[in-house]
């Protein structure tokens, strides 16, 4: 009936991006990504590839002429003595994660839901304060507390309990690592608990759930993404931690991080073997992160 409305020429022209605009669309993200991209390539991607290459040369030591490629370094990991180290590292990491959860959850819960609102930021800062000092310093502080003439035993003996030799034992590693990584756990759990909908707890109470049932059936499932993220962060950092096991754990607490150190800077000097264990550590951590991305918080709107 009527002619279709025609778009005025100048509007039609304006709708088509000019060459300059198209270039701009390309350059903009590049300029934003370039600095970090260069950084990542230079200091992460290339070194990782180098390590991967070295790990494939069995028994490479500094100064050696690289021999033929092979899987010898990786097979060496399966010797019982190294498997025990791996197992111990996993135990330390899992134990630290569990302890951080058990200690951190009540703290985060209290700050997020029960502490007076105007104190919350201050309380969080107080909790993060230890992170402002060097991890080395904190480990030394624990040495003075845990050694046989240290603060702990002074207190224990004062109340009539015999002194304990905790320093240079796995227990000291758990204590030190839990102390080191607790702030991260509290921070992440706090941000998750802060978003917890109190009305859901009321609804559960209304339906007959007692405080324990409310906790396990509403609070925990609702904050599961935070629990997973916090747990993963603590797990990864404690799996690769070198300072605490070295300074507090003594000879009996050999971990994968210390073993790797020994291959590069310690007496054994087996770069090839050190690289293969580094690759294993990278693989384990990547796998954990991939699992979190895949299953951690698939459908965030379901948790609203």
């Amino acid at each position: 009936m009527t002619a279709p409305p025609t778009v005025p020429r100048e509007i039609a022209l304006a709708a088509k991006p000019s060459l300059g605009q198209r270039l701009g669309q390309l350059i903009e993200p590049l300029t934003l990504l370039l600095p970090s991209g260069v950084w990542l390539v230079l200091f992460l991607v290339i070194p990782t590839l180098l390590i991967a290459e070295i790990s494939l040369v069995p028994g490479l030591r500094p100064g050696d002429v690289p021999g033929a490629y092979g899987l010898g370094n990786y097979l060496q990991i399966f010797q019982p003595v190294y498997l025990r180290v791996l197992f111990r590292s996993l135990n330390f990491a899992l134990g630290t994660t569990g302890l951080c959860l058990i200690v951190g959850f009540p703290v985060a819960y209290w700050i997020a839901l029960m502490a007076p609102k105007r104190w919350r930021t201050l309380l969080l800062v107080v909790f993060i304060l230890p992170l402002w000092t060097s991890s080395l310093l904190r480990a030394y502080a624990w040495i003075t507390i845990l050694r046989s003439s240290g603060l702990l035993n002074v207190v224990l003996q004062a109340v009539g309990i015999p002194g304990q030799n905790i320093l240079n034992s796995p227990a000291a590693v758990y204590v030190g690592m839990t102390y080191s990584f607790l702030p991260y756990m509290v921070l992440i759990l706090y941000s998750s608990l802060e978003k917890l909908d109190i009305r859901l707890l009321e609804a559960a109470a209304d339906l007959g759930a007692n405080p324990a049932q409310r906790f396990w059936q509403v609070t925990v499932p609702q904050t599961l993404p935070g629990i997973a993220a916090g747990g993963l962060l603590v797990f990864i950092t404690s799996l690769g931690d070198f300072v605490v096991p070295t300074l507090l754990g003594g000879a009996s607490s050999m971990t994968i991080a210390r073993l790797i150190y020994n291959q590069f800077l310690g007496p054994t000097r087996n770069w090839g073997f050190g690289s293969s264990m580094s690759m294993l550590l990278i693989l384990a951590v990547s796998l954990a992160i991939a699992l979190l991305i895949r299953y951690g918080d698939r459908n965030p709107e379901n948790y609203s």
Binding site: R199, E202, A203, D206, L207, G208, A209, P221, L224, E301
Partner: protein, 389 residues
């Protein structure tokens, strides 16, 4: 001092059939007193609404019954038992929340089954009861969805099912339809009413929507500033409000301030602040007003007639001159705004009969029968704040 009508029940229910009772309940939050001495008696099986503007304490009152708050002083009784300090999870009541508060990490089915599983009801029993509740709210085909995938109206139905599957003694509804659009709200009102009739349990609903309260409730309590202004059936509340606030809040009304001139058994004369003399003869109602008291005359817009000629002055009729200022076409009705010569503004609702209205700004006469208006004490005496007895 009380107002009673012979035509409507307003006597308090006998104690044996009471489901919920509040006795002189106060709730103080820091510097604010949210609930100030509320007395309520709610019968078994009743659909009872607590109506009031936002901030009047109606939701706090409901939360006191649910157990989310404990009274600062006073008592809350459920089926004759003092539950003032019983935690919410032990009370035989269930709530439908305004925000629905469905568990996002569970399916619709698990949401509804939550209360039964907490009570350790057997598996097969849970299955039949949840299925029955889903059928009741017509949500059978949504059992496997999670709340995030449902519309507002569907979430509302799930919230209803989750509460009623527990067969509570009392269902509490906190602005249950507040988040729905108008059409859906009308539909859900009908369903709520049907559910109430089918289940026969006590419903207590909090709402700020007076139409919703009037259309659904057996009785209504109107709250203001933490106090109950009036309790009564919808028609008592609408036709015989006890205070100017109730008259104004429920439906629309014209309020004119004045002073009682003469008070007789069959009616009274109020002289307004501007000098008009208004006859008031409320039908079958005792008037707690005596000569000299400050009063507010309330006349509903639909009770006023407009004409171009003055009706002859006669006792029992009020007729005042003014001019027509504004007419609004509402479809079923015409809403007219009239300014009396003495300065009062009146809203007049005329049914749409295709009548010819006087021209704007021309003189008109607004008239109403003395039996069609009410005189209310300007300051409500304290004793009127409690349930009529």
């Amino acid at each position: 001092m009380s107002q009673t009508t012979s035509t409507q029940r307003s006597a308090p229910p006998a104690a044996a059939t009471l489901d919920v009772e509040l006795r002189q309940v106060f709730k103080i939050f820091g510097p604010d007193t949210a609930v100030k001495g509320v007395d309520l008696k709610i019968r078994q099986g009743e659909f009872f609404s607590i109506l009031g503007p936002s901030g009047c304490g109606k939701t706090t009152t409901l939360r006191l019954i649910a157990g989310f708050e404990t009274p600062t002083t006073g008592e809350v009784l459920l089926q004759g038992r003092n539950v003032s300090h019983m935690p919410a999870y032990r009370r035989p009541v269930n709530t439908v929340f305004q925000s629905y508060a469905l568990f996002g990490h569970m399916s619709v089915w698990d949401n509804i089954a939550f209360g039964l599983r907490i009570k350790r009801v057997g598996k097969s029993e849970v299955r039949t009861q949840v299925a029955e509740a889903l059928r009741l709210v017509q949500m059978e085909s949504f059992a496997r969805r999670v709340p995030g995938q449902l519309s507002g109206g569907q979430q509302q139905r799930v919230a209803l099912a989750r509460a009623l599957v527990n067969r509570p003694a009392v269902m509490l509804l906190d602005e249950p339809l507040g988040a729905l659009d108008l059409k859906l709200r009308k539909e859900m009102q009908v369903e709520l009413s049907n559910l109430h009739r089918k289940l026969g349990i006590t419903f207590i609903m909090v709402t700020h929507d007076q139409e919703e309260a009037l259309s659904l409730s057996d009785r209504i309590a109107v709250m203001r500033d933490g106090e109950i202004e009036q309790v009564g059936t919808p028609s008592q509340i609408y036709d015989f409000p006890k205070t100017p606030f109730v008259a104004d809040f429920i439906g629309e009304t014209n309020l004119v301030r004045g002073k009682v001139d003469q008070a007789a058994r069959d009616g009274l004369k109020v002289t307004t602040d501007t000098g008009l003399q208004v006859w008031v003869q409320p039908p079958k109602i005792e008037i707690p007003l005596t000569a000299g008291m400050a009063a507010v005359v309330s006349v509903r817009p639909e009770k006023i007639r407009l004409s171009t000629q003055a009706s002859p002055a006669q006792p029992g009729q009020n007729c005042f001159a003014g001019r027509l200022q504004h007419v609004m076409y509402l479809g079923t009705h015409l809403q007219c705004r009239v300014v009396l010569n003495t300065g009062e503004h009146l809203t007049v609702l005329q049914p749409n009969r295709h009548q010819r209205l006087p021209e704007l700004e021309t003189p008109v006469y607004a008239s109403w029968a003395a039996t069609d208006c009410l005189a209310l004490a300007a300051k409500s005496p304290a004793s009127e704040l409690t349930d009529a007895s």
